[in-house]
């Protein structure tokens, strides 16, 4: 009787512990996904900023001004 009771207790405890472990794993995965989404958003923002800076630096207007300045310097 005692053996059966203990076996049942162990079984219930094992099921509970497994469920806790699964829930923890689930939460950890959700955290990872949120972290990755945040990282993705941050990288996209960085990409947008860098792209803007690159485009500003290589804009035809700016390149033309540099070209004109260089031409002026050579002439002098």
């Amino acid at each position: 009787m005692l053996f059966r009771f203990l076996a049942a207790l162990v079984l219930v405890t094992a099921v509970a512990l497994t469920s806790v472990a699964i829930q923890k794993r689930n939460l950890a995965l959700k955290r990872d996904i949120s972290q990755q989404q945040y990282e993705l958003e941050r990288l996209r923002e960085d990409e947008a900023r860098l792209r803007l800076e690159v485009q500003r630096l290589e804009s035809p207007q700016r390149l033309h001004q540099i070209q004109q300045a260089n031409r002026g310097a050579v002439t002098e």
């Binding site: 485009q55 804009s59 035809p60 033309h64």
Partner: protein, 571 residues
Amino acid sequence: MSTSHNESRGRIRVVGIVILLMWGVLIARLLHIQWWRQEDFTSIATRQQVSSETILARPGDILDRRGRLLATTIAVPSFYVDPAALDNPHDFAAQVAPALGLSAEKLAWQIQEASERRFLWVKRRLTEEERQAIEALQLPSHACGMKVEYRRHYPQGSLAAHVIGLRDVDGQGRGGIEQTFSEQLQGHDGKRRFVRDARGHVLDVLEEVTEPPVDGAEITLTLDAVIQLRLEQQLDALVKQYSPRGVCGIVLDPQRGEILAMGSRPTLDPNRPQDASEQAWKNLCISAVYEPGSTFKPLVVARALDLKTIQPYDNLDCEHGAYRMGPRVLHDHHPYGFLSVSDVLVKSSNIGMAKIGESLGNEELYRLALDYGFGQPTGVELPGELTGLLRPYASWNQYSTGSIPMGQELAATPLQMITAHAVLANGGRRITPHLLKSAGTPQPQHVVVSQVVSPQNARWIVQGPLHDVVERGTGTKAKIEGIEVFGKTGTAQKYDTAAREYSHSKHVCSFICGAPANDPQVLVLITVDEPKGGNAGGTVAAPIAANVLKESLQYLRPHQFAQQLNDTSAN
């Protein structure tokens, strides 16, 4: 003994019944809460625990035809305050205002005015320095905070400002492509729901009910930033030299109807719209309406040739400079005798054109104006396009027969004029001018509306008279060595509404040219409103248009045209 025993048993029974009743009430209440009102309480609990947050959709970029960025979006913080949570608005304003460059008195007044509200923007779209200054103040988080918003940037500055337009502080498109494609560029915001505890800490993000944001579409235009820059530099040079009331220019691919560049002066920098003058908001290419003058003449000649009311080898008597049409006497700038059809265009003879107008008649003149697209919008993807002015046929009279062929009595936008000339340049097809190359999905490259002129006559006009206009006519200043240029000058007197006659001092000068004449690739129109120190399209607009044309061809076909130009300069 037995009596007291019975009494105690009775009491126990009563107590038992009372306890049972209490349990019964509790069970009934439990069932009421858990069963009957389950949904109500669940929704109340959800409202208290679950809150949602908007995930902003990133507005789409605008690119030129070669992928250069014309408009993009960057996330920046905006600073807000909860006025109801502030004990002393004056202290708060005194702390915050210097960091944000605001007036402390005005800010304190604004907070006091909104004292019953729970949200008030203090300043939107902070700079990095402002954000750092606010963070250094370590303000109470329950009374104020930062929210991320998107800020539009235009890395090319004022380049193509009228075409691109801008997005206002609320993300709404104002003018240009930003307004026309506001919905596609905007995208759709998403929603993130999460569970909070009693202290407001996030416990869980409910992924299964999150609506992902749909970012705005990336829009690619037919514009080319390099050609646009060349055009705008030439427009600036023109403004410097002639101080006109307004000036605009368009570069068009006549075969596909693609607008390669479109510029207008005065202009604005969409990064600093607060500095723009009132006139600078106007895109003259689509919102200025002028009488076209002589640039209209080739369109009439092409129709007359199609209807065979004249032949290319005909000679027209230009009456030595004076011709009576009913009660009116028409004059030419120079007296001419007989002129060939080609020379009527080359010399821009008004009398020759009036005679061609007589051969067509008012009905056909009206029909040709409609066929070329006058009096109706071209359909370009820009807001605020005007239709020009084409009076109803019923109000035309014998004056119209002489006036319409020389480009008077009707008015058109510069875009309508270049679109009409594209018909001649591309072999007679009327094509919708457009700016959109793609908006996420490929767009049709061009829309052929109708065949307006026969290909032979269109080719004859371009390679014959219009080429001669540049070689030996009114447009010789547009000659480019090594390239077969065709073009037509236009010098229209402006109508003086006060004097009720055409002004002798106010003109609109224009020049439309294209090249190469045997296979036109580029068409350029320059329109100058009231230039000072010059009043002829051939002297004011033609050299500028030729410069734009030359630089566009060198850029678009470097191997073909750079070689030709080099050969010429070597000779």
